[in-house]
């Protein structure tokens, strides 16, 4: 139940409603249906949802070493993305952007070559 209210709250905010007004509306709706006691649980569910949403909307550029940053930003076009370093990539870059992954890492290329050579 609290999940559904939390989702409704998130949708209200996403549709342009001010957070304060959206919360007031949800509170009013809960009170009207005699479920005012649910509000703290709705708050917790909303926190989880918002965190997930933020995670989804994150943009992360992963490179094998810090010195690859400029090349990776140029190649991927991700100028604003957060930077992460993962040496296991060997070279190249990976871009996680709004639920999409573009994998141009050397490790991925080598794995594809290895899999094709051993399974075909």
């Amino acid at each position: 139940m609290e999940q559904a209210y939390a989702q409704a709250l998130l949708k209200l905010i996403e549709s342009g409603e001010k957070p304060k007004d959206a919360v007031a509306k949800v509170q009013k709706a809960l009170a009207k249906s005699g479920r005012a006691a649910l509000m703290p649980a709705v708050g917790r569910a909303f926190e989880r949802l918002a965190e997930r949403q933020a995670q989804k909307n994150r943009s992360v550029l992963v490179v094998a070493r810090k010195s690859d940053e400029a090349m990776a930003r140029r190649a991927s076009g991700a100028k604003e993305a957060e930077l992460a370093v993962d040496s296991s990539l060997i070279g190249g870059w990976q871009l996680f952007d709004k639920g999409e992954l573009r994998d141009e890492s050397w490790k991925s290329a080598l794995m594809t070559i290895y899999q094709n050579a051993t399974t075909k």
Partner: protein, 520 residues
């Protein structure tokens, strides 16, 4: 290192083109009991295959050591994520793992090279004979053929079992349920049917697919050996989702079986698929549905358990000539509890199929095997597919047996009965004896016709009960030796001509004289 391997790697490197495209990804938020909740995957579609990214953070050397790809199948699309079943080892999935959408619906390999092979519920070979070289991939979920693409069932599928071929005939493209308690011989009927296909000419012989769902590995191994011993494995494919396989694979196995069969049907060949058994598939689906938090209905089965079986069995068909004329016959098996055919799953499958073969514990314990209850068994479309020869003897047989069942209760007062009633009972008893058949010994249709012709024409009525089976064997040998033209005629034309009948009548006369010991 072997130079061919080096050449192969060089070729792969030269041919490597960077993908340059992005994939829709999500993240595992919870995992347990073979079901995984994934955040993200906004563009996922129902029944899509996803790949778990096990290599993140691992060094190349460790990634190369890892087992094959770990896949999942999306079964729930939710507001803020998806739920999927893991098609493999659940222990390999970790919370936070990246999951990549593949954009593909689950498909399995099929083709001639699968014949005589054992595969798992993902179509991967598990018989140690190596991978398939050039298989054709077939979608596991596919819409069934429509009305225009089908034609009526008119070609018989011989089971080699006298009581079935004569009274509950099955046609190619039909769906005939085999139902009964545990240990009543359901699998035996199905396996005998597969074995009997060896008597069919090679060009007309159906490809057989045996799908073992939730069965013991030992049973599947025994069936495989039995098929090998009877030269039936060469045209058979076994799909095995044993009792130890995850529920997801037990749920998928029948769909994999039908997908493999459809390849041959689309090529214009006939296919026979045995689902052993769908009760276990329903139980596996119930487990998955509950774990996927779908609302439970009657007996905790999900609301779409009917659709689970109807969409599977609807894929059986006899295609029109324009579509190649292939067919896919289904023999689903359902296990009942205490003979209760009014259970939820049994009634569902009874209503979906074109008839049922009902096996009874009571008959089995009385030594009547196959333990088919002829009264409760029915074939709704098969009679159109029965050969003329069989039809000519089956009509009388059904009537005689029905009369015998009516009179069976009076058997204990045999001494007080009038002659006509006593004769009818004696004839019925002998019919029942003639219809008995050992497992693993299906009989070609022409031999069945000759035996049943003799039985309905009272050849065995004077034979004492303990000698009936022996007399039947002798009679068949007698016809084989002196009247083989009758057998050839039935085999070639499917009919018993007037001349053939005259020959059989005279054969019966001479058999009586030649084998007086049976008619004492």
């Amino acid at each position: 290192m072997d130079s061919t391997i080096i050449e192969k790697i060089v070729k792969e490197i030269e041919g490597y083109v960077p993908k340059g495209e992005s994939a829709n990804v999500g993240r595992v938020s919870a995992v347990g009991d073979g079901v995984v909740a994934i955040d993200g995957l906004d563009k996922a579609v129902m029944a899509e295959v996803v790949e778990f990214e096990e290599h993140a953070g691992k060094h190349l050397k460790d990634s190369m050591k890892a087992e094959g790809r770990l896949l999942g199948l999306i079964l729930n699309l939710e507001e803020d994520g998806v739920r999927a079943v893991i098609l493999g080892d659940t222990a390999r999935v970790k919370e936070g793992m990246t999951v990549k959408s593949t954009g593909k619906i689950l498909s399995v390999p099929s083709g001639d090279e699968l014949l005589g092979r054992v595969v798992n519920a993902l179509g991967e070979p598990i018989d140690g004979k190596g991978p398939f070289k050039k298989p054709t991939m077939m979608p596991v979920e596919r819409e069934a053929y429509g009305v225009i693409e089908r034609q009526s069932v008119t070609v018989p599928l011989q089971t080699g079992i006298k009581s079935i071929d004569s009274m509950i005939p099955i046609g190619r493209g039909q769906r005939e349920l085999i139902i009964g308690d545990r240990g009543t011989g359901k699998t035996t009927v199905a396996i005998d049917t597969i074995i009997n296909q060896k008597y069919e000419p090679k060009e007309k012989r159906p490809i057989c697919v045996y799908v073992a769902i939730g069965q013991k590995e030992s049973k599947t191994a025994r069936i495989m050996q039995q098929l090998k011993d009877n030269d039936a494995f060469g045209y058979t494919i076994i799909v095995d989702a044993s009792a130890s396989a995850p529920a997801a694979l037990q749920y998928l196995a029948p769909f994999v079986g039908v997908a493999i069969g459809e390849y041959f049907m689309d090529r214009g060949q006939d296919v026979l698929v045995v689902y052993d058994d769908l009760s276990k598939q329903a139980v596996a689906y119930r487990q998955l549905s509950l774990l996927l938090r779908r609302p439970p209905g009657r007996e905790a089965y999900p609301g779409d358990v009917f659709y689970l079986h109807s969409r599977l069995l609807e894929r059986s068909a006899r295609l029109s000539d324009a579509k190649g004329g292939g067919s896919l016959t289904a023999l689903p098996i359902i296990e009942t509890q205490e003979g209760d055919i009014s259970g939820y799953i049994p009634t569902n499958v009874i209503s979906i199929t074109d008839g049922q073969i009902f096996l009874e514990t009571g008959l089995f314990n009385k030594g009547i095997r196959p333990a088919i209850n002829v009264g409760d068994s029915v074939s709704r479309v098969g009679s159109a597919a029965q050969t003329k020869a069989m039809k000519s003897v089956a009509g009388t047989l059904k009537l005689e047996l029905a009369q015998f069942r009516e009179l069976e209760a009076f058997m204990q007062f045999a001494s007080d009965l009038d002659k006509a009633t006593a004769d009818r009972i004696a004839s019925g008893q002998r019919m029942v004896e003639i219809l008995k058949q050992k497992n693993g010994s299906p009989m070609p249709v022409e031999q069945q016709v000759v035996n049943l012709y003799a039985a309905v024409n009272k050849l065995f009525i004077e034979v004492p009960m303990p000698k009936v089976k022996q007399a039947e064997t002798q009679w068949l040998e007698y016809v084989n030796a002196g009247y083989s033209s009758v057998l050839d005629g039935i085999r070639e034309t499917g009919a018993l001509s007037d001349e053939g009948k005259t020959q059989l009548n005279s054969a019966m006369e001479s058999f009586r004289t030649a084998h007086k010991s049976f008619f004492a």
